[in-house]
């Protein structure tokens, strides 16, 4: 009969082999809260509706890829600029020998449907963030950061490709805060208002909106450019997620937590 093999000497020094598991043992990694459920849900609803709006908006533009300034514009008038793409209408001179298939019917319906989701989501986010202090606490730059020096410091860090500082796992820096505020309080309201200014019924009820943009065709052209700005924001936003660490940042926006190695003291 053989005796049980002896435990090799080095393993005896590993605590978990020798010490009983006690309540005081903490995991090697900790998860800390990052984004509230409200921020996460409204963020992803906005993502879905933004893509629906972008794709359907592009389809609608294809039916008249010419842009004008002022109240009126049509193929008998000089455009401000034209996109060099084929059109889904044979009435538009494009230089292309073919006409693309008409997708405007479902595109228009889905555009408005997505716009309703986006606007109602934005409304919930806006009211809740005013009430719970999300804007004040997380988006308005803290008083010491309200300086060009603070901006320059952050930009210099990005240019050096320095890894994000520890605090940025739980908070936004001044450049991020300013960008998000610009998107939430400038680009989103403008893209909604310029879109509404394309509706004949809305313009009948609230004519000062379309007049403020300088006419219906100006509103359409601005709607297009604001969309371009939003897409540029999206590209930079996603690029930064990849640079900062795709999985941790996605986990923070999906599960709401940041997982970090335990701090050692």
């Amino acid at each position: 009969m053989r005796s049980a093999p002896a435990i090799p000497a080095p393993y005896l020094s590993i605590p978990c082999y020798s010490a009983p598991v006690s309540a005081t043992v903490t995991p090697l990694k900790v998860a800390t809260p990052r984004h509230t459920a409200l921020v996460r849900v409204t963020h992803w609803l906005t993502v879905i509706s933004f893509f629906a709006l972008l794709i359907t908006g592009a389809e609608i533009v294809i039916s008249h890829p010419r842009f004008y300034w002022g109240e009126t514009g049509n193929v008998n008038m000089q455009p401000l600029f034209s996109l060099h793409i084929a059109s889904s209408r044979d009435t538009v001179p494009t230089g292309y020998p073919y006409v693309m298939p008409d997708q405007n019917g479902w595109s228009r319906a889905l555009h408005f449907q997505a716009a309703w989701v986006a606007v109602l989501t934005g409304l919930v986010y806006f009211i809740a963030s005013l009430v719970n202090g999300h804007f004040r606490k997380n988006l308005v730059p803290a008083p010491p950061d309200r300086s060009w020096t603070a901006f320059r410091t952050v930009i210099a860090r990005y240019l050096r490709r320095a890894p994000p500082i520890a605090a940025e796992a739980h908070s936004y820096n001044v450049l991020q805060r300013t960008s998000y505020l610009a998107v939430i309080f400038v680009l989103f309201p403008l893209v909604i208002l310029t879109g509404l200014a394309l509706s004949p019924a809305f313009n009948a009820a609230f004519p000062f909106v379309v007049d403020a943009f300088g006419g219906r065709q100006s509103a359409r052209t601005l709607h297009f450019f604001i969309t371009i700005f939003l897409v540029l924001f999206l590209i930079i936003h996603v690029a930064m997620i990849f640079l900062a660490g795709f999985i941790p940042r996605m986990r923070a926006m999906i599960a709401g937590r940041v997982v970090q190695p335990r701090e050692r003291r």
Binding site: H64, G73, N104, W106, R108, A109, F112, P200, N203, R257
Partner: protein, 262 residues
């Protein structure tokens, strides 16, 4: 040793579960009540459900615009805003019937008004011109994005409807082009709207055929495709179910919403 916050955000308590369940039930119940009220107050367009999953947004557009701004007036422009180069989409080659009437200078053009009216009537263009007329400088806005401003002169649709006497159970006014399969309808809010015209003149001349002459519907609070050309018949009805596929106009059959206020 530094304290770390407890790992709790994902744990759902029983109370939270019950509250969420109750809120969801109340939400669904509220939606059902809202749908019933919307139906009762005429906030559901006839093509609701006909545009598939893309459609509910269009129903919201109609319901909200009817609830909040039913009687607003489309913008009217000064004379110097009239477009020097208006544009009209080409329509299919005219039918023989149209060409015959055109050869006769449209003297035999008739507008038949029937359905839920006290006095079904057939109007000639001269009859229509003897009714009160209205002139307005409004913008034609195509769903594609282009537009132009023109002066439109015609008989307000409400003048025609008052002439024939609309019965109380009426809900829609359907209108038909002389050209095959080209028809649409308005709810009574737009049918009796003061700017809804049966236009027979444009920019101080007769309405050119390319722009819908001799008789075109003009609905300036909606997109151009509601402003159907070559109108020969109006039918007042309580339901659009009997016409075409029952979606209120030919547009939803091609994927475009019946309500074109946006």
């Amino acid at each position: 040793m530094k304290n770390t916050p407890p790992d709790t955000p994902s744990s759902i308590s029983r109370r939270k579960l019950i509250t969420t369940g109750l809120a969801a039930t109340a939400g669904v119940g509220g939606l059902a009540v809202a749908a019933r009220l919307a139906q009762r107050y005429g906030l559901i367009p006839p093509d609701h459900g006909g545009l598939g999953i893309c459609g509910p947004g269009e129903t919201m557009n109609y319901a909200v615009q009817r609830l909040l701004t039913p009687h607003s007036l489309a913008r009217e422009f000064s004379r110097n805003m009239i477009s020097k180069a208006p544009f009209a989409n080409e329509v299919a080659p005219p039918s023989d019937q149209f060409k015959q009437l055109q050869a006769g200078g449209f003297a035999d053009w008739r507008l038949t008004v029937d359905g839920l009216v006290a006095r079904p009537t057939t109007f000639s263009l001269a009859d229509l011109k003897s009714l009160p007329h209205r002139s307005q400088i409004t913008e034609v806005v195509c769903e594609e994005g282009w537009s132009y401003v023109a002066e439109w002169i015609g008989t307000p649709l409400d003048a025609v409807l008052n002439q024939v006497g609309v019965l109380p159970q009426a809900r829609y006014v359907a209108y038909f082009s002389i050209e095959h399969d080209w028809w649409d309808s308005l709810d009574l809010t737009d049918a009796f709207h003061p700017q809804t015209l049966l236009a027979h003149a444009m920019n101080d001349g007769d309405l050119p055929v390319g722009f819908g002459g001799p008789l075109r519907m003009r609905v300036p609070r909606q997109l151009g495709y509601k402003s159907i050309k070559y109108i020969t018949r109006l039918t007042v009805t309580d339901s659009m179910k009997r016409y075409g596929k029952g979606l209120g106009s030919a547009s939803p059959e091609g994927g475009y919403a019946w309500y074109a206020g946006i």
